[in-house]
């Protein structure tokens, strides 16, 4: 059972190389962009030296840490966005491609059940893809920190103090891990829906997946003059219960005109307990389970001829 799952998930990575190619490409682009930024900035040598001097002597530890964390957060969001797009395309293709290229009969000639196959695709979407995203986030952070330190050293700054001493790496990465996996869980009803559409549709999975998400709320609004469906679907795109305790204004202590040090810890802003006890999280997980089951049944019972 587990051996089969590992083999099936490895197969997904062979078939859908974009799962790791896309994050690697984004990581390379982001590293190149920051490198280009430094090269450009080098043209203003005096200003750079002044800035490094200022950062070294005038800016407090907390502010430097806050600045680096904001930069890290930006990088992480780019990968989360990449992950979202990848997940949509991967799940929509996962059960559609095998029917399009007619390989489904071959896969079904092996001693692997339909449930095992569909579950391997679900696991790839909610575990493997987020893991790859987190790995890409960590790698990009490291590459950029190393490049930045080398550059600062060349310019005569103390990189150890300015960069490595100021950044809460573990806090950033754990927060990225939590947010990435929480997002996958939170968005799991969509993953289930995409898997179902992928197993079900005869053509144009992208259109078939998104059309009902737009038409159903519209019809509900016209016929019933209500918007429960729209709120359930699009409301999910808003704030996760994970971020509910977060208040951006608290970051800055106006009385002392400084960043509050204890609030820079990203993990402190994530309410994992509230997230895991939120009924709407588990309602979503149940919807995902039901739609995945539907996808299994479609693969099992549909006659492909």
């Amino acid at each position: 059972m587990i051996a089969n799952q590992l083999a099936l998930i490895r197969r997904e990575l062979w078939e859908h190389r974009s799962i790791y190619v896309a994050p690697i490409a984004v990581a390379i682009i982001m590293s190149l962009v920051s490198l280009a930024g430094m090269v450009t900035a080098s043209a203003f040598d005096n200003e750079v030296r002044l800035a490094i001097l200022g950062a070294s002597n005038m800016v407090g530890d907390a502010e430097r840490q806050a600045a680096l964390t904001v930069y890290f957060l930006g990088t992480s969001w780019v990968f989360l966005f990449t992950l979202a797009i990848l997940t949509v395309f991967y799940t929509l293709d996962s059960l559609y491609a095998e029917r399009k290229d007619k390989s489904i009969l071959f896969w079904r000639s092996l001693p692997v059940t339909d449930a095992e196959t569909v579950i391997s695709k679900l696991l790839t979407a909610i575990i493997v893809l987020p893991l790859v995203a987190v790995a890409a986030i960590v790698a990009t952070h490291l590459v950029n920190l190393v490049v930045t330190s080398i550059w600062i050293s060349i310019k005569g700054g103390d990189a150890g103090h300015l960069v490595w001493g100021s950044v809460a790496l573990l806090d950033n990465w754990l927060a990225a891990l939590v947010v990435t996996f929480a997002s996958a869980m939170w968005m799991s009803p969509f993953i289930g829906w995409f898997l179902f559409v992928s197993a079900f549709t005869k053509r144009m999975p992208l259109l078939m997946a998104f059309m009902p998400l737009i038409l159903v709320p519209l019809i509900e609004l016209i016929v019933l003059r209500s918007s429960y469906f729209a709120e359930a679907v699009f409301g999910r795109g808003g704030m996760m219960p994970l971020f509910r305790g977060m208040d951006m204004e608290e970051f800055f202590d106006e009385d002392h005109m400084a960043v509050k040090e204890e609030l820079i810890r990203l993990l402190a802003h994530l309410d994992i307990a509230q997230f895991l006890t939120s009924p709407s999280l588990w309602a979503g997980v149940i919807v995902c389970g039901l739609l995945t089951t539907a996808a299994i049944y479609v693969r099992r019972y549909r006659d492909e001829s």
Partner: protein, 285 residues
Amino acid sequence: MTSLVTARNVTKRFGDLRAVDNVSFEIEKGKIMGLFGPNGAGKTTLLKAVLGLTDCEGQLSVLGLDPFRQRKELMRNICFIADVAVLPRWIRVSQLLEFIESTHPNFSRQRAEELLSRTKVRGDAKVRELSKGMVTQLHLSIITAIDARLLVLDEPTLGLDIIFRKEFYGNLLNDYFDGERTILITTHQAEEIENLMTDIMFINDGRILLDSSMETLPDKYFELISSGEDADRARQLGPIYERDVFGKKVMTFEGVDRERLAGLGETHTPSVADLFVAKVKGAAA
């Protein structure tokens, strides 16, 4: 003799259409059963039912299992090539072997690689880079390396040239078939497997027209080539089908004593293709 496949009153409906209509048959261990039928006769539906790919009414037992409900167990001991094109095009040969090795308990990767080394199929090639004939070689090598009790082939050589077709059946007999294994095969090219089959079954409109061993076929069926008054006399004995060849009448008889036609013309055993036409057209008439 143990029966590997037992069908009792198997029916498969698509709406009002009965693609398979109350069919009963058995396939015994060690046999090579050829299944023939025109397009839309229900061949593929019947094979799908045997493979557990579609549910059906009636009793169907394959290797003692319910094929639809126990498909995973069934697939450990059964192999099939449904169409030459079904291998995924994006996969590398080595990845394919690795995947089957880790999911199929009865697959020998070493054996598959040994068989492939005789062909031009390279391990690092992707399936999409292979010619149609090479894909079939690959598929047959995989199937041969699986220690399965029943092999189901549905038009395995469709679209292949004559050399690959001959080679396919040659390899099938030499490498795969050992008298212990059982094969169920459908093809349009009846003449290719005529000398290979031990048993034969015709299906048309979802019903079985003929189910016989090849050995007893000459006892039951023969053709008479005749003309003129002899032909008229022969016709009174009720041939199932009659056709004209070079101005002579060729009549196909079923279950008639050959001695009774002695002197009316030349008799011989019909080819599978001719018998097939006679049974299908005769049943329609």
